[in-house]
Symmetry: C2
Subunit: 296 residues, 2 copies
């Protein structure tokens, strides 16, 4: 295992430990719901979004405790979106991160409510004075996460994605916009959170926003490539699903080689955005390489 | 129509007009989702929660614009909970507020995502600087709404309610706790928001919290009485559902007369909490009478 992967795994552990402390305890008649929330949020995962948030926050010397809490909030938001995406009426998936999805392990009612509760948990974490002493920082984090996850962000992207799946949409411009909203907006939030926490200036924010934009799209193209070529032992979810469903993806439109080229070009662009940070951006350079090389 | 009902209707209209302005416009490839959000949030409704929020906020001279925006946020949160409660895997309802439920008018995928998007919209509204100039107020509103709607609040209550429906739970203590969480916590948020916005002191908050507690339970008991005795022309939803499902309710446990007596006692207690406000609390006294007398 490379040094970088050790580092990523250590940070993932730190986030999981923090989330374990921050999520409510399974007590009271609502304990069934809370156990299922914990199952969804604390399961194995690379914690790539928390990594991006913490690592880009360190570039601007943001407070570590605030970064950790914000990272946990993003992980709750991400986990909720996975639980709802997996529902029978959505992707109807049985496996997630190598384990039964929430509606398979529990039931559909529980899965809907777990997603709902994890979303409110994300906002509760950001608004909590424990996260940051400044209410201006907390309110701005909430506002940005709400916009990133709402109808013009993650949920809007998921809605378009469902239309793409049923073959209603096959336009590369709309597919790009969809992925930008569905995956990219939360990734953008991750790299914006550090500058908000640190009160960093406009130029730094702009550089990180450019980085997030290219990285998010690169991530999604690699995801499509993995779906087209991967195997389900590695991804921990059913694969070849997109092709089964006749869904237009970057791969179906650009071809495997075209999609691969596009991903590499986006990775290069993402790195170029980090030039102003010099060597300090090493951790973010490595995560780009990791995403390009990922097998799951 | 009584003067009070005119007043309630006028305030409901004002909230609907504001919500119409504050919700996103149905443009872009995500317009299907946004149209459905607007269908769910802007449909006919008494806007009882916004009324409570605005009327109790006026008791402490809270800023009107802030009250209106916070009222819209609560209505988004309430609308989301109705859309998810109506889903086939939950209550499987066809009618809501006299119109087809979101999953009947659109489809199940849309209904899940509409609920998700309305929840993030609620937090976006509260965190927006347009709502209040003070970030401390905005962050506190977010924190309180997140707690009121999360696993120890509304969503937790809904989880317990599903267990009550399947007959797993028949204990009056748990049923009371469930209703306190499912309905009461959002009602409590409504009467707490005004004092937060106005920066009002502890005694005032305590009086309004006591009021909210008794009112929320009273509201739910009347709901159970309506379900047991109402007709679906008036309530705009399928009735006698609880009895069909063998669900334990205040009525099945206390009997119709017992439940009625309990509701009246709670209404009296709720009014007593308002004594410190004297005549200024007239609008809240009237809403209690309205709830006791409601036929739908």
């Amino acid at each position: 295992m490379s040094t970088f992967q050790d580092y990523l795994a250590a940070l993932a552990d730190r986030v999981t430990v923090a989330l374990n402390d921050l999520l409510p305890c399974p007590t009271g008649p609502e304990k069934h719901l809370i156990s299922a929330m914990r199952y969804a949020a604390l399961g194995p995962g690379k914690r790539l979004r928390p990594y991006l948030l913490i690592e880009s926050g360190r570039l601007v010397d943001a407070d570590e405790q605030a970064l950790l809490h914000a990272a946990c909030a993003v992980e709750c938001m991400h986990a909720y979106s996975l639980v709802h995406d997996d529902l029978p009426c959505m992707d109807d998936d049985d496996l997630r991160r190598g384990r039964p999805t929430v509606h398979r392990e529990y039931d559909e009612v529980t899965a809907v409510l777990v997603g709902d509760a994890l979303q409110s948990q994300a906002f509760e974490l950001l608004a909590d004075p424990e996260t940051h002493a400044s209410s201006a920082v907390r309110a701005e984090l909430v506002l940005r996460l709400a916009r990133a996850s709402g109808p013009r962000g993650m949920v809007g992207g998921q809605m378009i994605d469902m239309a793409i799946k049923t073959g209603e949409v096959e336009d590369i411009t709309i597919i790009t916009r969809c992925q930008r909203m569905k995956t990219g907006s939360l990734i953008s939030f991750c790299v914006e959170a550090g500058p908000v926490i640190a009160g960093a200036d406009g130029d730094v924010r702009l550089a990180l926003e450019g980085f997030a934009h290219d990285l998010g799209l690169c991530y999604q193209i690699v995801d499509d490539l993995l779906d087209a070529r991967g195997d389900d032992r590695r991804t921990g979810k059913r694969i070849g699903k997109d092709a089964d469903q006749g869904k237009a993806t970057f791969v179906s439109i650009l071809g495997v080689e075209g999609a691969r080229d596009r991903a590499i070009r986006l990775a290069d662009q993402a790195k170029a955005h980090l030039d102003p940070f010099g060597d300090r951006a090493g951790g973010l350079h490595e995560v780009i390489d990791h995403i390009l090389a990922r097998q799951s």
